[in-house]
């Protein structure tokens, strides 16, 4: 029984490690400036985790194989432990774990502790059940005033844009996030009902949109294409298909799009989806 258990533990360890290294199941290609740094930190961590996992399982398997009771009345070693060993493994694990914790702050720091770089495009994001609304300031560069009392899904005013505010006249609200390749973008995440979470796997970025808060995040997409935006915080029955897209466009396409008013903006996006996107799409 001891040998069977040992073999099981070893085989299980090999199969588990195989799942991680097979390459079939891994992150999609990173498309943000911080993506490679994220991937390096993940790789470092998963190496430490994998080695520790394998070492512990192999040792466990060895112990149950080697120290099984084989009869003959031989007794076990009589010991209550070793303070020296306790000290060694406490200090060694503490050093490794704390080092990982500190290294694991770098990307976080660059994203959350630094303001968005100058020249970042600003987009206000208002999440609702079960849709993402992206508000662009338009030609004047100023976001129009919004008011929850003006929200009306029936008249498609999802964000409650106040039409008495002159700055609101040229604002555009669509359900697609449009960004420019290699240009930082700052999203102001908000929600008008329950907590949602903005999640694009290729970006390596996830952030909750919380009712009552305006949460600024910034990142720089660096590969053209169309990417799926998912909701990562349970928000109700349609949570599983609260999907939008993020477009990462070349500068000229982006600029010409941003100059358009609401109706044409929307039409142009539809057109992009139909024609241009086939060459931009970065899907498997």
């Amino acid at each position: 029984m001891g040998r069977a258990l040992a073999v099981f533990i070893w085989v299980m360890t090999i199969l588990s490690v195989w799942m991680f290294v097979s390459g079939r199941w891994w992150f999609p290609v990173a498309i943000s400036e911080h993506g490679p740094a994220y991937d390096r930190q993940f790789f470092l961590t998963i190496m430490v985790v994998g080695i520790a996992f394998a070492a512990a399982q192999v040792a466990l398997g060895y112990a149950v194989w080697r120290f099984r009771d084989t009869g003959g009345g031989v007794r076990a070693v009589y010991t209550h432990g070793s303070n020296r060993l306790e000290m060694i493994w406490t200090v060694v694990t503490a050093i490794i774990f704390i080092t990982l914790a500190l290294l694991g702050q770098r990307v976080w720091f660059s994203l959350h502790m630094q303001p968005a770089p100058a020249g970042a495009a600003q987009v206000r994001v208002l999440a609702q059940q079960f849709q993402w609304n992206f508000q662009y300031a338009g030609a004047d560069g100023k976001f129009g005033h919004t008011d929850p009392r003006k929200i009306s899904d029936e008249s498609l005013n999802y964000v409650g844009l106040d039409d008495t505010d002159p700055a609101a006249k040229d604002d555009v609200v669509v359900q697609t996030l449009v960004t420019e390749v290699n240009r930082p973008v700052e999203l102001i995440l908000m929600s008008r009902d329950v907590t949602h979470s903005f999640w694009v796997p290729q970006l390596r970025y996830k952030q909750d949109a919380v009712p009552g808060l305006e949460i600024p995040i910034h990142f720089t997409p660096n590969q053209k294409g169309r990417y799926e935006i998912a909701c990562a915080e349970l928000c109700g029955q349609q949570h599983y298909k609260m999907r939008s897209y993020m477009l990462v466009l070349p500068a000229d396409e982006y600029d010409s799009l941003m100059a358009l008013p609401q109706a044409q903006f929307q039409a142009r996006i539809s057109e992009l989806y139909k024609n241009t996107l086939s060459r931009l799409t970065n899907l498997p």
């Binding site: 029984m1 799942m19 466990l60 209550h80 720091f109 008008r192 909750d208 808060l213 029955q237 949570h239």
Partner: protein, 640 residues
């Protein structure tokens, strides 16, 4: 520490017992059926009641998980039985997304509260903590009965939530974490199940908090006051340390959840705004709340919720340490370090709740502090693992079923716990948060490992509880597919999470004309794994029937157990099987040594009971050529 509990020659036996409150039994054995088996104040009966409650809940919870798997694997399929049972939640037998979410909610609530919190602590702890410290009962037997029945009421209310919802869904749909505003104003937003179902959920949890608090008080008092002569703190079995630490955590954590639950109930029903901010909209009208913070709920919830993880796992750690030592025929390696590690985990467990909230909108500075504290908690966890290996090292391992599950616990605890190093990092959480990676992590460590701890405990203590052995062959047949199955279920979920698969999605693809159509293309690589995991889950859940059969069959037909079938050392094995009403039949056990004296050189057997008098020990010590301080021992003998 507990110097005054060491036998003191100035006191006579009776005098001592009376002074310390130990062995004073305030109630005689009941005779009526109701007082004996239903409203019993005997900790042994209450322990078994808790175990049966957990057994009922775990099967309901597993059934729900299988239904969830079926829905995501074969979306749109019509299940004949569901059409009959839930005509609204699963119209035509096809599970609706809200039906799925209510399964998510009920599965989580059932498992976390009514299985992982009740069985290891209320069940095994209740039964064996008093016996292992040599007491006749809990300190407050009536309180003990009350804590069980309040918990039972909580379960009844939770089950009623399945059927109470007017719109025919099965209960609340907001997840076991019940984040507001979804939980507070979900009904205003027309989210199914968030009306009466949500109210019943809150009431159920509030009752559960009450029951757990009473239990925690009782455990702490019992352990501190009712230890028998000679049972100093450092001579206690590690199980007792684990139950004690767990009780302290429960005492400090549950009141916070109770308070949060009350506030949520007020928000939901009486128009207060603790968790709901101003300016929310239904899409047509502004919602009439102002001034609350959704993040405050998350702080309160996880201030409870993270210690809760340890409430679930610590008793399993205690049982594992106990069983590994017993079946390796070797003293626990680093007993003192094990005790300190338990306490370190318990203490640090209160300072890491923020790692559930890195991306919640909480200050990113706070996140960085929580991250460092979180990875620190890996240190005492690693200490425990090393000591378990140290306990096995050089042992003479007997592979009885309890030992198989205890070794399984160690393997699973490592596999599940170690990915905390990934999830505890702020940076990595940017991608991993709320994916299947998280699901894999906590199911392995607090779900399956904890359940293995319970299985180990059940196979180990069953003979003492019911006077008969569980069938060893059936035990092995149960063990193998279970451990293979749980690895097949949860290891693949890690890589699904790396791919990006989000939690709590009722489905990931639709079947259109027999073709798989992804809802999110990034999830495409996970499709074969979804099928694989579902089949693994179905098989693993099915083989649990073997355990149920073994459990009930052995209760009546099992081989008769002797008083100490495993040749173990602690007090529960010194008394009759099953123990009499007052545990030791009027005797007051005296303890002379630590809990894990196995393979002592020169001793007649390879185990020395805690009650074996000192003279023997002195002889042994002389032959072994070492020295010991009479009656107290030194650190070397494990009971300083």
């Amino acid at each position: 520490m507990a110097e005054d509990d060491i036998p003191n020659e100035a006191h006579g036996t009776e005098e001592h017992a009376a002074e310390h409150g130990a062995a004073v039994h305030h109630h005689g054995p009941p005779t009526s059926f109701i007082r004996k088996y239903v409203f019993s104040i005997d900790h042994k009966v209450i322990g078994i009641q808790y175990l049966l409650l957990a057994l009922f809940s775990v099967f309901l919870g597993m059934l729900m998980s299988i239904m969830m798997r079926m829905n995501m694997t074969w979306p749109g399929h019509s299940w004949w039985l569901l059409a009959k049972l839930f005509p609204t939640g699963a119209p035509g037998g096809v599970m609706s997304p809200e039906f799925y979410l209510s399964l998510v909610t009920m599965h989580g609530t059932m498992m976390v509260f009514f299985v992982l919190t009740t069985a290891p602590q209320g069940g095994f702890g209740n039964y064996f903590l008093p016996i292992q410290i040599g007491a006749e009962d809990m300190a407050f037997p009536v309180l003990n009965m009350l804590s069980f029945w309040v918990t039972f009421l909580g379960l009844a209310v939770l089950v009623s939530a399945i059927f109470a919802a007017g719109n025919g869904v099965i209960g609340p749909t907001g997840g076991w974490t019940a984040y507001p505003p979804l939980s507070a104003i979900g009904d205003v937003l027309n989210v199914p199940g968030q009306g009466m179902g949500m109210n019943l959920w809150i009431i159920s949890i509030a009752l559960f908090c009450g029951g757990s608090l009473l239990g925690a008080l009782n455990f702490i008092t019992t352990l501190l006051n009712l230890r028998t002569r000679g049972m100093s703190l450092m001579r206690m079995p590690l199980t007792c340390w684990a139950w004690f630490t767990t009780a302290v955590l429960a005492l400090l954590a549950f009141p916070v959840l109770l308070a949060a639950g009350v506030l949520l109930f007020l928000d939901k029903n009486l128009g207060t705004s603790f968790f709901v901010p101003a300016g929310l909209s239904t899409g047509t009208t502004v919602i009439d709340h102002a001034g609350g913070s959704p993040i405050m709920w998350q702080h309160l919830f996880w201030f409870f919720g993270h210690p809760e993880v340890y409430i679930a796992i610590l008793p399993g750690m205690g049982a594992t340490s106990h069983i590994l030592s017993t079946f390796a025929r070797k003293p626990v390696f680093g007993y003192r370090a094990m005790v300190f590690a338990l306490f370190a985990i318990g203490l640090l467990g209160f300072f890491v709740w923020g790692h559930h909230m890195f991306i919640s909108g909480m200050s990113p500075y706070t996140g960085m502090a929580f991250s460092v504290l979180t990875l620190s908690i890996g240190v005492p966890s690693a200490i425990k693992t090393f000591n378990w290996l140290g306990t096995l090292w050089g042992g003479r391992i007997r592979f009885k079923t309890p030992m198989l599950f205890a070794i399984g616990f160690v393997s699973l605890f490592v596999a599940g716990g170690i990915t905390g190093l990934v999830l505890g990092q702020t940076t990595l959480d940017l991608s991993m948060h709320d994916t299947y990676f998280v699901l894999a992590h906590f199911h392995l460590v607090m779900g399956v490992a904890a359940i293995f701890g319970m299985f180990a405990g059940m196979y180990f203590w069953f003979p003492k509880m019911f006077g008969r052995m569980m069938n060893e062959t059936l035990g092995r047949i149960h063990f193998w597919p279970t451990i293979i199955g749980v690895y097949c279920i949860f290891i693949p979920m890690h890589v699904m999470g790396i791919v990006g698969m989000p939690r709590r999605y009722s489905q990931f693809y639709e079947i259109v004309n027999g073709q798989v159509q992804m809802i999110y293309n990034f999830n495409r690589p996970t499709v074969p794994l979804i099928h694989f995991v579902t089949w693994a889950a179905i098989i693993t859940v099915s083989v649990q029937v073997i355990f149920i059969f073994n459990f009930f069959w052995s209760m009546f037909k099992g081989q008769k157990a002797t008083d100490n079938p495993w040749e173990a050392t602690t007090l529960e094995w010194t008394t009759a099987t099953p123990p009499p009403h007052d545990n030791f039949g009027g005797r007051v056990p005296t303890v002379y040594r630590g809990a894990y004296e196995f393979s002592v050189p020169g001793a007649p057997d390879d185990f020395v009971m805690q009650t074996t008098p000192d003279e023997t020990e002195a002889n042994i010590v002389t032959t072994a050529g070492t020295h010991a301080v009479q009656g107290k021992g030194d650190g070397h003998n494990g009971h300083g």
